[in-house]
């Protein structure tokens, strides 16, 4: 049961990532692209934790945690760039 649920979840998040990808490359506005990339980061976290669960290992935890932290930084950086041009001022 868990296995099929996990497969379902995998499929959902994978599909979600493809949707994000679609948005990243086709969105009319760069703000949408940044948003899509940020969402991609979040889906990636989910996928990573899922994968770790499937393998029964905790080895992917750090990566997920770091992505949670860093996805934010890069998204803010992109946004700041559009808002201010200069991201450190």
């Amino acid at each position: 049961m868990i296995e099929s649920a996990a497969t379902f979840a995998f499929a959902c998040f994978a599909l979600a990532m493809l949707m994000n990808l679609w948005k990243v490359v086709t969105a009319p506005d760069v703000a949408d692209r940044i948003l899509a990339l940020d969402t991609m980061f979040i889906n990636a976290i989910a996928l990573m934790v899922l994968y770790g669960m499937a393998l029964g290992t905790e080895i992917f935890f750090e990566a997920a945690m770091i992505i949670a932290m860093l996805g934010f930084v890069s998204t803010v950086a992109y946004a700041r760039f559009i808002l201010r041009g200069n991201i450190i001022e």
Binding site: V25, I67, S74, E89
Partner: protein
Amino acid sequence: MSLFLIAALPFLGAVFPALLIRAGRNAAASAAGLTTLLAFIGLMLHIPAVFRGETVYAAVDWLPALGVNAHFFLDGLGFLFAAMILGIGLLIILYARYYLSREDPMGQFYSYLLLFQGAMVGIVLSDNILLLLVFWELTSLSSFLLIGYWKHLPEGRQGARMALTVTGSGGLAMIAGMLMLGHIAGSYDLSVILQNKEAIQSSDLYLPALILILLGAFTKSAQFPFHFWLPHAMAAPTPVSAYLHSATMVKAGLFLMARLWPVLAGTPEWFYIVATTGLVTMLVGAVIALFKDDLKALLAFSTVSHLGLITMLLGFGTKIAAVAAVFHIINHATFKAALFMTAGIVDHEAGTRNIKRLGGLRHLMPVTFTIGMVAALSMAGIPPLNGFLSKEMMLEETAHTIWNGSHLIVPALATVAALFSAAYSFRFIAHVFLGRKRDDYPGHPHDPNTGMWIGPAFLVVLVVLIGLASAKIAGPMVATAAGAVTGGGELPYYSLKLWHGLTPALYMSVAATIGGLALLALHAPLQRIWNALPRPEAKTIFDALIGAFTRLSQFVTEGLHNGVLTRYAAIMVAFTVAIGYFAYRGGTLGTETRQLQEPGMLPVVGWFALVVATLFIVAKHRNRLLALVLIGVVGLVVSMAFNYLSAPDLALTQISVEVVTIILMLLALNFMPKETPVETPALTRLRDGAISVVAGLGAGGLIYALLMRDFAFPTISDFHLANSYKGGGGTNVVNVILVDFRGYDTFGEIIVLGIAAMVIFALTEAVLASKVRAYLLNRKPDLPQAGDSHPLMMVVATRVMMPLALMVAAYIFFRGHNLPGGGFIAGLVAAIAIIMQYMASGFAWATERQRYPYHAIIGSGVLIAAATGMGAWFNGKPFLTSDFGYLHWAPLEEFEWATAALFDLGVFLAVVGAVLLALESLSRFAWQPGISSEHAMDINPARDEAAKTGTEG
């Protein structure tokens, strides 16, 4: 005196004048003269041995591996030349002391002159042909300096370059020839080579070696068609012309032909190349000389002609001709040097060398006239002077020479040449000294002081004495030298006397003299015809050639290295792929030993995302921000792929580096154009696309082939897996490799990072110190700016995030040895924690709160890593040997300590410092007065409230 010393003295002497010039012109001249005199005396000490027919040797091995050795020997030929070089050198030194004016840097002159003298002495004393080459090229170089000595004269520069080009290239050809010759003979020592006539003449390499060596000799001795450089070298001061271009350097080619005569001469090839060249040169030189109005040009072409004469004699290949050649070498040196010095005196005193403006000087300069007349008559071949004797011998030999079946052609042409020779000699006397005194000389002609005429006078005395008593005075010398030229053995009978009876030579001689007088009489109309004739001007051709070649070189160089990186890179990639493919085709590809693994859903999705993002980067790269966003996708997918493929450390590193890189690029992009224009034509893009596709196919194909095959041998990482815990104290094998097995790589790596940051810092300083700073200060943002540069929410969030992130960094640091993580990733995380502060609260605010200079953090990181490595020395172990153990402090559980952690701390610090220094430097570009805020956030109701009530700052 040792031959070494004789050869070395001029070089030593070259040092003194330059040093002594402060002490005055006389000191410089004396130093030059004394060293030359010393060498000359040293040489004379060998007279008894040389005239006994012995050979004096001196040998020291220099470069035995190659066979280039300081082997010198002195035989008759060498003695003759060395005596000429040093003897005439002495006279020239004396002459030059008075000839050069006060403005001329005399120290330099004597230095160059002695340098040249040394090189010449070296040539004639060398027993090693490679050593000879060294001196040979040195004569080219030093004569370059001497010809260009008068730096203000363009003719000097051009003449110098021309001489260097022609003689230098001949010398280079000779190098090849000599190497071949030495190869055939099995040694580069002349004394060995000269014993190997049969081997050399029967070798396949004989002809190429001969041609190459003769190229050297002919260019040096100004043989047709390389003769053109010599007249232009006359731009040199007259002492130089007298020395180099009459007595010595141009004779080096003759010397070489004489030196190698025993092994090279005697073949048809030799005869036809050498004798023909000599004959043509003799004729051409003599004809041109007659029509030259410049005294020195006249003498220069006469020299060409006489050099041709000697070359022709050597080319005949008979021993008796060789004797004549040697004899004429001596005679020519005496009268020609005297003539040059005479010309120099005339030039010096009358203020011009143009024959057209001279005449009648006999009355004003009787001494000079006497000297010049005797020398010129000798050149014309008038008895009883020495020139007559050797010319007679020459004519006699031509009479016996058959050229391609013809008995007549050589003697006939030789007679014509002699006729012209007589004519220009007579002209020298008649048009300069004879005739009516003029009143329009540019100078005030009078005889010079003794120092200037004593040299030529001495030579003229020799001219007369040799002519009158040749057998006594020149006989032994000629015999000894000719003996050396012909390679020992008996010389055939010859006699050096004025009257041989009514020989063909006498008739030819008489014809030449009479004809010469006739030509002189007809000179004016002949000159008009000559001037009307179209004839190739060698200098124009040469200049055009060299100019064209220089422009071609510029064109090729500028065209090839046109500064377009795109093309460089395209060539590099294409070349690499081509060579890689070539290498691949040369081997065999084994069968696949691994199975394809079925990819699950995740890899396919990831692959798809990666490919789409990558292709869109290419398609959309002109929108730079968009490309950066897409790069973020690629980075994320690659990082996930690392995770998926069992590389968590890589995933962590990749994603953290990714973020920092993007921040960095955004910082830079702020100042750069946001769009890339379309510049390349479609065809170029197509070409680039083709190159890229091929490169991609190469890389992809290569890794595919590798992935489908196992290692050919067990890998060394089996050892790492087996020893990571036992020997390295960690279970994260990747980390143990990084800090222990291959800690040295990591040491290098953090240094790379540290240097990168320093470079960025230094660059920032450089840019901000330049005019760019003004531009930056007044720069308006490219795009409209939103308000609220330091939003409240962001500031608050990052304040909480920072300690949390540092906690994460600590966590990742401490567990790295056993689980994914380590100092590098921890460093990046910590750096990002601080960057967040910069981004949230601003550069000025964050910088103010930075207590430790980033330089120091980098430095301490590297030092800690190095010190940890060196710590092992005190344990008697090599650099970077790690140690670890377990500590137990009740009530805590035992925990592990490892020096590797200290090393990792160094890594951590270096990374933190480097990342922050780099970003901080970049951020400084944007700094403008007034943008710094004292507050972390622009909008803060609490602050406003406090300001109103005055409670809090």
